[in-house]
Amino acid sequence: MTHKISQSRRRFLATTAATGAVAASGFGFPHIAKAAAPVKIGVLHPVTGAVSYSGTQSRAGALMAIDDINAAGGIKSLGGAKIEASLADAQSKADVGSAEVEKLNEAGVTAIVGGYASFICLATTQAAAKHDLPYIVDVGVADQIMERGLTNTFRFSPGFGACVQQAITGLGAINQGSGQIAKTAVIVHEDSLFGTGTANLLSKALPNIGITVLEVMKHPTPTLDFNNIALRIKQHNPDLIIPANYYNEYVLLARTLQQQKVSSKGIYSVLGGAASQYKFVKEFPEAAAYVMDCNHWFDPKNQAALDLKKKIEAKGLFYTYEVWLNYEAIMYLADALERAASVDRAKVTEALASSTWSHHFMPYGPTKFVKGQNQGAQAVNLQVQDNDIKVILPSQFANAKPVFPMPARG
């Protein structure tokens, strides 16, 4: 009996205390109970139009990062403020991308992440600069994006200058390891900013490692037939075929080369559209076997990167570079928001510029921003081996050794 009374007294006291706390927080001290206002972030990608696949993948990566941040308690220095994504579609067009930036600015976003394609990023970063709106380029590799002195623009990932540099260093090392077996190359590139810029840099740099460029062939996006290009490559009989194009064209080119029985000592792409895509390896294992690429990649020894891979694959998506580059771009912004402890654009810009963020899973050097570009960012050398994509260089991140020249195909 006593026990019963005692229990109900305790319960009464607990209930009263809880009710009092709720009442106090809800009415007496509204500044305590009021949830921190969400931080609006523009998530801008081309989710329709010619590069919509990449745009959709990019958006998935960005949204997953936002979910993870919010699930972990939001931005703590802002009272646990949740991040709220304002989604925008550039429709694979630069002018539409710029118009979307204007809308996002009107909507009061603190920063924008995305763009994906270089030609879109060129326009959208400039549009954002008019409003001093911090803009994080997710993928856009054209170096021009970062060379215009826009103080609002940041890129955590590498540009194609750095990628080509790594590609040349890596190829030089791989070729030397095989006794300098490759002496000639043909470059096949798509004819927009990304492909043309990459091809120009490669044409200049390849002779420095003893490789003569026999021909540079360009093609539009989309291209449905690579027969002529395959015939011309066959006529040159190069040691290396170097493609720099988007996914669909890369796949068609690889299949046509196989059909036309074009043999070479290696296929070595730089930012190859398909060479570092699990989708390509899964759907066309024969065409993908032993293809090498110098591209964005995650650190294969980092558990966080592998955990994200599992989560993305559980959603029925392929773990592509668009996904993790966007994931990391959002995380980089979240770190800046945390340090800025403000949604003021100038303070966020300052925090982004002074970032030394190290909790990422990319195979990069120390984070340091110079004119908006992360100096630690780098591409890595990859090769399709055993129906998987392996890092072959730099050695500190490698999980396989290069196979070059590639074995003859059937």
Binding site: G55, Q235, K261
Partner: protein, 296 residues
């Protein structure tokens, strides 16, 4: 600049690519010939056909070529339904829908946008391809290596054109279609159900896309915007061959294919389509009725 070892395969490849263009243009020319409307939804309907073939293969294991008996009637039904339910009713006065080209053109444009966005919503922007056992099979004829799927598409285009020609020339339906295309009021007075014939024409034109989908998917990919790649060239083929001409679509397709291939070879792939549009402008200037077209 290029010797025969590269020129001959380029011409043969051009013929095979041209047959693909012809396949797409066949339905377009039939619809234009009878309904006198420029069907902007043609590319979107081709995309639907390609997705149909893709899902039959990936979900049901049906080989793309064996999917022909399924896809042709399904696409026919879609085309018939669209003409009867949407395009034919787009204006309150049905006679107007026959004559007011601009409005019907806008309806087909709207249809293409709706279809593409529905595809984007349901199937996402993901590029899908199929890997058949014969996808990389080739026939080596000495002067060129010809991919088997493209050879089959070439043969398929010729067969589809022949069937269409026979349908138009030798059957009651073909006679009724021709009568309606020349003089719809007169045909109506002779007891022909003109609205039914319009829908049949649109249905047959769309059924051609069902065949095109089956013949194309082993060589290309599908995504919601894939129709755009073909439809502009298909319009050129129709103008060159003669609007409404079945034989014209086939011959026009082959000419355009070879032109594109040779321009690609000599001028580079980025400029490959220049030749197509030079032909397009020249046809409009010097022979606006096209090679096999008749004066209106």
């Amino acid at each position: 600049m290029f010797d025969l070892t590269i020129l001959a395969p380029a011409v043969l490849n051009g013929l095979m690519v041209g047959a693909v263009y012809a396949l797409v243009a066949l339905g377009l020319t039939l619809i234009y010939g009878v309904l006198h409307i420029i069907n902007f939804a043609h590319g979107a309907l081709l995309m639907v056909a390609l997705y149909g073939v893709y899902f039959l293969y990936s979900l049901g294991g049906v080989d793309p070529y064996l999917a022909l008996p399924v896809m042709v009637p399904v696409m026919f039904a879609i085309g018939y339904g669209l003409q009867r339910g949407v395009i034919g009713r787009s204006l309150s006065n049905k006679k107007k829908s026959r004559n007011n080209d601009a409005n019907v053109m806008l309806v087909t444009l709207g249809l293409s946008i709706v279809i593409e966005n529905l595809a984007l919503y349901f199937w996402h922007a993901d590029t899908r391809t199929i890997d058949t056992p014969y996808a990389l099979a080739v026939v080596d004829i000495g002067i060129a290596i010809l991919p088997v799927p493209k050879l089959i598409a070439f043969a398929g285009a010729v067969v589809v054109a022949a069937i269409l020609w026979l349908l138009m020339a030798r059957t009651d339906l073909g006679r009724a279609i021709r009568a309606v295309s020349k003089e719809s009021r007169g045909a109506q007075l002779m007891g022909i159900d003109v609205e039914h014939i319009y829908a049949m024409s649109f249905g047959v034109g769309t059924a051609c896309l069902g065949a095109a989908g089956c013949l194309l998917l082993p060589s290309i990919y599908v995504e919601p915007g894939v129709g755009h790649i073909f439809v502009l060239v298909a319009f050129t083929v129709v103008v060159l061959g003669g609007m409404g001409s079945i034989v014209g679509a086939l011959v026009g397709g082959l000419i355009i294919g070879v032109t594109e291939s040779l321009c690609g070879l000599y001028l580079g792939e980025s400029l490959g389509q220049i030749g197509i549009f030079i032909i397009f402008i020249a046809a409009l200037m010097f022979k606006p009725t096209g090679i096999f077209g008749q004066r209106a």
